[in-house]
Subunit: 410 residues, 2 copies
Amino acid sequence: MKSDLPRLMREHDLDALVILGPDGLGAANTAFTYFTGATHVTNGTIVVKQTDSVPYLIHSTMERDEAAKTGMNLVNVADYRMPEIVKQVNGDRLAARVEFTRRLFKDIGVDGRVGFYGLDSVGASFAFLDALSREEFVEVVTEYENDILSEARKTKDADEVALIRQACRLTADVIETTRDFLRAHRVVDETLLKQDGQPLTVGDVKAFIRREEAAAGLEDPGFIFSIGRDAGVPHSSGTPGDLIRLGQTIVYDIFPRLPGSYHADITRTWCLGYAPDEIQAAYELVMQVHDTLAKAFNTERFTHEFQDMACDLFEAHGHKTIRQDLGLTNGYIHSLGHSFGLAVHEAPTMGMRGVRPDERMQVGTVMTNEPGLYYPDKGWGIRVEDDYWCNLAGEFECLTDVDRSLVIPM
Amino acid sequence: MKSDLPRLMREHDLDALVILGPDGLGAANTAFTYFTGATHVTNGTIVVKQTDSVPYLIHSTMERDEAAKTGMNLVNVADYRMPEIVKQVNGDRLAARVEFTRRLFKDIGVDGRVGFYGLDSVGASFAFLDALSREEFVEVVTEYENDILSEARKTKDADEVALIRQACRLTADVIETTRDFLRAHRVVDETLLKQDGQPLTVGDVKAFIRREEAAAGLEDPGFIFSIGRDAGVPHSSGTPGDLIRLGQTIVYDIFPRLPGSYHADITRTWCLGYAPDEIQAAYELVMQVHDTLAKAFNTERFTHEFQDMACDLFEAHGHKTIRQDLGLTNGYIHSLGHSFGLAVHEAPTMGMRGVRPDERMQVGTVMTNEPGLYYPDKGWGIRVEDDYWCNLAGEFECLTDVDRSLVIPM
């Protein structure tokens, strides 16, 4: 969590962190919003010094109001007169940026080992950091993984979880409202019809869900609402023209965020009217795996051991699993779960042994639990996903509260 | 435009482009969506070879359906058995990624000079490209600016502009609906009241706008709806608790996109009921600058010459401008315009002489025209923004059609 940063900076021997925040990335630049919060700062640079408790925000004049809301130490980039610097270095804008960085670091007292974070175009940022690393005034530090920010963000504090809880509550409301919306339709020949007599489509339902998210004040990064065969392909987002028919599985995986802030991540599988026996049995197995794993969650085992436990259970019931075949398309074909926060996928994950051999959950971990079974050729898929937090007492609390019934009576 | 890529690759002597598409970046990774379109591929890698007309998409098994919709050559990353590669290099995941890249490039016939694009964490991507650049099988090319993709994206073809037009049309509808929504309120003591007698706030209007965007099928990356003093600070997004009062300027700057696709960018300034004389006069000047510049747009002059023309006009009427003082907060304090497309801000821009001394508009350029005046201490700001395209006949067409009246009668 954020309070770990001073310790992590000392351990990684970093004098400062620089978080780049180029224009237009919005909530995608989670390393940047980790510090600015939901404040609408659209671009800038953040500098965190080991010796100062409050970070610096280098911002534009146009955004001085939004910048002030962050409570950070403010530096207006206009004070550095970039056009003059560009002129001094004969129009070489890369050299100008290096020179600007030199002056900035001098003014706010940054030197030594500096780690670079945030999102940027890979070519442009490589060229910038490569040029900077040839300068004397700073030692550029980059980490391929397990960098300080990912490390800090592996655990969430109570303030962060309060926001995740709020996102989960609002998302649960959207899910319940979607169910009510479906139930309100009449059924002819096992097909849901709209008031005008036309069949209800996946596209219609998705438009309804988007409006409900907006009404709830949630930002929508996309969601999955797929039926039948599409439900059998985990990341198929659904075919707009598909009809909503009884007895088919609907996989509804929705992961919106509070504006510029924390996500929820919830999946429900529904059959309208009735569920065929095969699907009912498979659903009960998925829920058995789900409940068994939720009870098993602890901070002692490696995360891949939970994935192994899920594979054991599915294989014992005759299903193929991803640990037998990485390219599997029928059976249990993905990871058991992943952390999330400002991003939908964060570390740690609960995936295959060998990919992350040494990862454990710990106090503060937020984790999804989302076993599933997929048989696209038979025309169905099932996934049920809830979110858990290992609270400060070391107990795994469920953050999501949405009815788990497979069948929605029509 | 995209059809320029083969020529640009030859000119930059690049054998291939690699566009990184890490998980979770969505529409923010515009270099990636430039190739995938609005298809919901959430992660992968794109390789564009100079010798092949169809790019390659390296995707996960879970996303095989979405990947297939792109029409690209498909490579399933599962075929490379990453956990086995990780094991072979003793758990070093950076080395494993380099080894995976070696095998991939061999299989799809990539060697020589390869440019790297797309968004990624700057630290991780630097470490990866740095490791890759020490290998024999590829020459890593990075460009700080004027890279191939930015260069191609400086101009838009008719297909892209059809999408921008559609976004502009839907956005215009949202703006008109917002005006109708405001007009439907009753006024007591110059303040708009809701049906329950409570005053209407900026927060209420913003919630309405978000619902309208969702209903129109537009994705909302945030927008500006600010009144009074906040309208005097160009990028203030507005204070939720502010009341909607007559005779105050409202700056309404809205730039949503078609889902995962192209943006619109439109600003209107409104005064409800009436406009004070000072504001009316300033508005007429802003519109005079707007119209003069729209007529002046051509592909011969440097873009900063249009900014100079706008500064000339404002200064002639006694306003200070940003070319006199980069940190200016009262007067004309920003650039005249910028291009946009998959991102809200793209090259070229029409900013200060000296920052981009050699940039011109050309056939295919999409450009905003958005002069404004800002006096936060007097409690007002004005900006009017429309979008133009230099069509294939070399004429500047206006893409936006929204009433420009300052005063909304109540």
